[in-house]
Symmetry: C2
Subunit: 411 residues, 2 copies
C-alpha cells in the first residue's frame, strides 16, 4: 500500500479503447490498496490540431490565448478518464490545473510550476477518491491558464508526486523502459531496470526522449522515484516492470557505463583564428543566446601561440542558418573564419560508475580507433564522455561501444 | 456608441475561416466606438464529438465529468476568437465561465446561471478590451464546471448582456432573422423586422428553433433587446439587418398575427371515459412528470353527464411509448381507454395584436374549413391560437393561414 502518481501520455490515451485500458491499470492499483492520482495528456493528435488552429489564424498569436486553446485537450482526457474509472466502480474525479490549483509562472506556453496546493486533493484521497489531473497546465497569479510547454505532463506528474509526498511516479508511455541505447540502432540494447537520476538526466538531455528533462530534474531534487513503463503491456506499475529512476544509493549493482546515447540532428560550428583575448567567447555566445539558439557542446583549446584559438560548438541542425546569420551580424567577429559541418553525430557514454573507475575514456577511444573512426571533438563531464564523429559512423560506433562496455544483452 | 453582446453559434465559428469572418464583424463594431463582449459556441460538430466520447465509455456517465469534457469546445473557440481579434488590432481576451465568474447551479448538464460577477470584465471594458466569453458554461459553488444544456450559449449571451447592462444582444446564426413561418414550407414567408418578447416566446417554444426559449425569457425579464441575424451576410449588428426581439411598446406597427408556427414531431394522446372527479387529471400528469415527459397541449372538456370526460394532450412523438407505459403502470387509470395518434401536426398563429382584435380565431377556423381541413383540438392563450390537424394538411394549412392573415410577402 502506498501513494502513487500515474501519468499516461498521449499515445496511452489515444482513443476511448486506450483510455479504458489505462483505467483498468488504475483500478488494479486501487484494488491493491494504493491511493492513486492520475495525470493525463491530451489524446494523441489533439494538441497538434489545436496548435494548428492557432497558427492558421496568425503566426504571432498571444500565448495566453494559445494556452486557453491548447490546455483544453488535457481537460477532455481528464473528464473521460474519470468517467472510465467510475464505470469500474472506482471513485474518481477530474481536476483542472486551476481547480487544484497548480500555481505556475506567467511565462505562457512555457510556464513553470511554482506551487501545488494539494490540500483539497489529499482530503479526497483519504476518502479513497482517485484524482485525475489534467497535465501540462496550471493557473497564473492573474487567474489565467498557462501551459508548461510540450511534454509538460511529465513535469506535472512529478510535481504532483512531490506535493502528495507519493512513493512513486509511474510514467506510462509507448516504450517499456529506458534502454542502454536505441534498440532501432543496436539490437543488443537491453532495458535498464534501475538508473540513477544523474544518469537519466544525461540520457534525457542527450536525446533519449523518454522523459522530459525538467521532470527528471524535479524528481532528482525532490527525491521521487520515477518509473518509465509501457501502457501496452499487461503489468501495472506496482509490479515494477519498467525502468526505475531513483537515487544512486538505491541501486545495488551499479554499472560503470549504463548507456550509449547519441544525437543525429546537431551541426558542428568551428570558429578559426579567434583572438585569444578575454570576452570573445562571451560575445559569440551572447549573440547566439539573444537569438535563443540552444548551444550544446562547446570546446575551446589552449592556443599554441597565445594569439589566436579555435572554438567548436554544436547547435541543432535546424538552427544552423540562424546561427551563421547571427555570428555574421556581430561586427567584432567579422574577421573570424567559420566552418560548419552538419554531417556529424554526437555519441556519449553515460555512467555514474565512471567516477570511480579509470580507463573508461580510454576504452571509448580505443574502441573507436579499432574501427577506424576518427574522433573530431571530445568533451567530458563527471559521468559522461561525448565525442563527435562523422555521421556515417553512427551505427558502427554505437554498436561497438555498446559491446565494449559490456552492455549487450545475453543472446 | 453603446455596449453590445454578440453571440456566434456553432455554424458561425465552424472553422478558422468563419471565426475570422466573425472577428471582422466584431472589429467593425469596435470601429464604430462600441464596447463589445463576444460569446462563442463550440465549433460545429465538436460538442457532438465530445458527447460521443462520453457515451462511448458508458451510457450513465457522471454529469460533472461530462461537463468538464464538453465545456472544452467553447474554451477552444474563445481562445481562437481572441487571437483572431488581436490579429485585427483589436485588444481582446478570452474568458472561461470560471474566470468571470459565471456562477451557476449544481445541476450539471442543465445548470442555470445564478449570478454573473462582471466587475473585472467591466473594468477591462473601460480600457476598450473586447471580452470573448466561452458560452454554455459556468462554475458551481463547489468550483466545478457546469454546462447549461444544449443551446445554452444563447442564454449565456443574454445573461451577460443583462450583467453588463448592454444596449443590445446580437445572436449571429445561420439564418437572417425570424420568419413569419418556415420558408421551406411556405415560399411567401417574410422576415420579421421587430417582434415582441411575448410573441417570440410563443414562436420559440412552438418549434421556431432560432433562439433558445430560456434566453428569450431572460431577455424579456431583463428587458434586453435581442437581435437574430446572419453571420453569413455582410451587414453587422448595428445596422440592424436581422429580427429585433424587443418590448411591445417599442414596436410601432403591430401586426395582429405575426407568425404561423407548427410542430411536426408531436403525438396526440386521448383518454376516454375518465371519471369526472377531482384529482384524476393530477394523477395522469403526475405519472408523466415523474418520467420527465414533456406534455404540451392539454385539453379537457366539460363532461356532458358529469360522470366521465375525455382528456387530450400532446407529447413528443419520441416519448409516446414511454407515455403509454407510464399511464398503464398507474393502477388507478387502468379502466381508462387510451387512443393515440402520431399522424398529427400542431399549427399556431401568434400575435400580440389579437389581444385587442376580435375575429382572429374565426379567421383561422374559416380558413381551415374552406380548405376542408378538420380541426381535431383547439387551444388558445392570450396571444396564440393552436389547433391540431392531420399531418397531411401541414403545408396546406400553414400556407392558407399565412395568406389569410396577410403575412405573404409582396411578390
Amino acid at each position: 500500500m502506498g501513494c502513487i502518481v500515474a501519468k499516461f501520455g498521449g499515445t496511452s490515451v489515444a482513443d476511448i479503447e486506450r483510455i479504458e485500458r489505462a483505467a483498468d491499470k488504475i483500478a488494479a492499483e486501487v484494488a491493491l490498496g494504493n491511493k492513486v492520482a492520475v495525470v493525463v495528456s491530451a489524446m494523441s493528435g489533439v494538441t497538434n490540431q489545436l496548435v494548428g488552429y492557432c497558427s492558421d489564424i496568425t503566426k504571432v498569436y498571444d500565448n495566453r490565448e494559445y494556452d486557453a486553446v491548447v490546455s483544453s485537450g488535457e481537460q477532455v482526457t481528464a473528464g473521460l478518464m474519470a468517467i472510465a474509472l467510475q464505470k469500474r466502480g472506482v471513485d474518481a474525479r477530474s481536476w483542472m490545473g486551476w481547480q487544484v490549483p497548480i500555481k505556475c509562472s506567467e511565462v505562457h506556453g512555457k510556464a513553470r510550476i511554482e506551487d501545488i496546493d494539494a490540500r483539497a486533493m489529499i482530503e479526497r484521497f483519504d476518502e479513497r477518491e482517485v484524482a485525475v489531473l489534467a497535465g501540462f497546465q496550471g493557473v497564473t497569479e492573474r487567474n489565467r491558464i498557462a501551459t508548461l510547454g510540450r511534454g509538460g505532463s511529465d513535469t506535472t506528474a512529478v510535481a504532483l508526486a512531490a506535493a502528495l509526498n507519493a512513493d512513486r511516479c509511474d510514467i506510462y508511455t509507448d516504450v517499456d523502459g529506458v534502454y542502454t541505447t536505441d534498440p532501432r540502432i543496436c539490437k543488443a540494447a537491453k532495458k535498464i531496470d534501475k538508473i540513477s537520476y544523474e544518469e537519466m538526466l544525461e540520457l534525457a538531455s542527450l536525446g533519449a526522449k523518454v522523459l522530459q528533462v525538467r521532470s527528471v530534474e524535479m524528481a532528482y531534487k525532490r527525491d521521487i522515484p520515477v518509473q518509465v513503463l509501457s501502457s501496452f503491456d499487461e503489468a501495472i506499475g506496482s509490479e515494477l516492470p519498467g525502468t526505475l529512476v531513483t537515487r544512486e544509493e538505491d541501486i545495488m549493482e551499479q554499472e560503470i557505463v549504463n548507456g550509449v546515447a547519441f544525437t543525429k540532428d546537431e551541426a558542428k560550428v568551428t570558429l578559426f583564428n579567434v583572438p585569444d583575448i578575454p570576452g570573445i567567447a562571451a560575445k559569440v555566445f551572447d549573440a547566439l543566446a539573444e537569438e535563443n539558439i540552444n548551444v550544446d557542446m562547446i570546446v575551446q583549446n589552449i592556443s599554441e601561440d597565445g594569439k589566436v584559438t579555435d572554438i567548436t560548438f554544436t547547435v541543432p541542425e535546424s538552427e544552423l542558418e540562424k546561427t551563421l546569420a547571427s555570428l555574421k551580424a556581430e561586427g567584432d567577429l567579422s574577421n573570424i573564419s567559420i566552418k560548419t559541418d552538419a554531417d556529424i553525430t554526437k555519441i556519449s557514454v553515460v555512467g555514474i560508475g565512471m567516477r570511480s573507475h579509470a580507463g573508461v575514456a580510454q576504452t571509448m577511444f580505443r574502441t573507436l580507433a579499432d574501427k577506424g573512426i576518427n574522433i573530431q571533438v571530445i568533451s567530458t563531464s563527471e559521468i559522461k564522455i561525448s565525442v563527435i564523429v562523422a555521421k556515417e559512423y553512427l551505427e558502427l560506433a554505437v554498436r561497438s561501444l555498446h559491446s565494449a562496455y559490456g552492455l549487450d544483452a545475453a543472446v
